[in-house]
Symmetry: C2
Subunit: 204 residues, 2 copies
């Protein structure tokens, strides 16, 4: 299933074709693909090259570990993420290692790494669905996350499955239109909320 | 100047070739390229599709606006960012518009958008250098950033210039090796700090 974004300006195919499905195939992700996806995350930029990102991974190859990870999602996400072959929790170190001071950019830099991961996954024919709906306290306890680290998101990773495998309400959401705010609401010049001059009057 | 990452696993060329230079050419960025780069950011994923990212942009086409933006960087960054044709400040909305509740993922989602922007820039032959070193209070005041929004980073965007244009100390930094932690320090399974089984003993 393709859901290519209807862009106003041409962008790279991998960015246009990326979307977040719920209907995952249970086909395993090949270890070399998993490594490539994580390697992509590894090479993101970060403030002071701190590389604040950490990933906890569970695959169906180890059913007990997978069940443990699945149980740490919110119930709404468990309904469909149970079919994905790989679950990941993303975590950041909140301070700079060199001086123990707060790293204001840590979450932002995690986002850079996750976008790299997602792009590499897309390139390899895989899909990524990020989830804010996770049980953070349970994850902290289950995986013994140290005090100085923050649990941010869950990720389901795998090949696309069949929309028919989803409950009906989720089938509808899988097919809905992909929408974004116009550039005129996002890009300002000179002062807040003043659209940049190179953005057209129709907002694109 | 190329500084392709020495990866342990094959990753997409655009991710390998991305790096953050200081020696920018003063060649302007074509408006259609600027729009493509911002369009790429626009199509990132976000929690509840909130799209919390905002960008304030200054180009050398408007020298007063550029000088204003430049003066909002830390002095160390002004030394080289003065040569870039485009400066951007990244900002996030800290709450969900639908219910005014805190958006825990806002900074992370901004990172997703900035990584998309960076990838599109790389694809178009441009370079991006993100800066944590910015004068946040001055930016808030200069651009009248609303209470509910947080200023996160600055970005210099443009074509690569000539390393010789940099002060000597920055020339050295421009040439240093690109280093990252091994996967074994980033990817865990089952519990914290336990390297995933698919990561090799040498950490790759």
């Amino acid at each position: 299933m393709k859901r290519t974004a209807q862009t106003h300006h041409p962008i790279h195919t991998l960015l246009k074709d990326r979307w977040s499905p719920r209907a995952f195939s249970d086909k395993p992700v090949e270890p070399e693909k998993l490594l490539a996806v994580l390697e992509a995350a590894r090479w993101a930029a970060s403030a002071m090259n701190e590389q604040p990102w950490r990933f906890i991974i569970a695959t169906k190859k180890n059913p007990a570990e997978f069940e443990q990870a699945l149980s740490c999602l919110n119930e709404g996400n468990q309904r469909w993420a149970k079919d994905a072959p790989v679950l990941i929790f993303t975590i950041v170190k909140k301070t700079f290692t060199r001086n123990d001071r707060p790293n204001r950019a840590a979450l932002h830099d995690l986002g850079l790494a996750v976008a790299n991961l997602t792009l590499q996954a897309t390139e390899l024919g895989l899909h990524v669905h990020e989830m804010g709906g996770i049980q953070i306290d349970k994850i902290r306890e289950t995986y013994q996350i140290p005090e100085d680290y923050e649990v941010v998101t869950g990720i389901a990773l795998g090949y696309y499955g069949d929309i028919e495998q989803l409950p009906e309400d989720l089938q509808e959401r899988e097919k809905g239109p992909r929408q974004r705010k116009p550039l005129s609401e996002l890009i300002f010049t000179g002062t807040w909320a003043k659209p940049a001059s190179f953005v057209k009057n129709n907002g694109t």
